[in-house]
Amino acid sequence: LAKTTQPISMDSYEGQEVNITCSHNNIATNDYITWYQQFPSQGPRFIIQGYKTKVTNEVASLFIPADRKSSTLSLPRVSLSDTAVYYCLVYSNSGNTPLVFGKGTRLSVIA
């Protein structure tokens, strides 16, 4: 499994765009990049997943360069309710490989 590295914490003001970058240098051909969000006292929640280029949904965008060794989760115009821990994971669809969570990035949104 590819190891992921992401910043431990980030701060942002409300209304700003937040970009969280994750490194996964050893990503394999069958691996997908998945991001989760976790609020205090709750289980993690799936946000977005991608393989390459750009993926966008109603919550976030995910940018993946051609070499796929990193990815960037983009949260547009954050609000206080986006304060959470964000986890980047690499997932292999080649078999029954369980998800391994890294340390995550603690995002604090300030008014």
Binding site: T34, G43, P44, Q49, Y87, N93, P98, L99, F101, K103
Partner: protein, 115 residues
């Protein structure tokens, strides 16, 4: 999506006792996962539970300490045996969404405090 219910949501236990956590899913799923999250830490996978077979444990976790049952496709239990204060943690049950997509659904967790 899947709705996952865990019981108990929290408990305070005495050292040396055992506690069983239940996980109920509103749909049939092949694989269920048990994670542990210690205070302020990330999630650590304990084991993967498939119906009809022995659970597969990750490094550092053993069946004697964390026995798991998976009697059917909607239910699983995790027992934390002979508890010590180091077992104080949140235990989370999760299931896979769409097959082989990396999309997991989690329960709210069971917060366990061992005195």
């Amino acid at each position: 999506s899947a709705v996952i219910s865990q019981k108990p949501s929290r408990d305070i236990c005495q050292r040396g006792t055992s506690l069983t956590i239940q996980c109920q899913v509103d749909s049939q799923v092949t694989m269920m996962f048990w994670y542990r999250q210690q205070p302020g830490q990330s999630l650590t996978l304990i084991a993967t539970a498939n119906q009809g077979s022995e659970a597969t444990y990750e490094s550092g976790f053993v069946i004697d300490k964390f026995p798991i049952s998976r009697p059917n496709l909607t239910f699983s239990t995790l027992t934390v045996s002979n508890m010590s204060p180091e077992d104080s943690s949140i235990y989370l049950c999760s299931v896979e969404g769409r097959l082989n997509t990396g999309e997991l659904f989690f329960g709210e967790g069971s917060r366990l405090t061992v005195l």
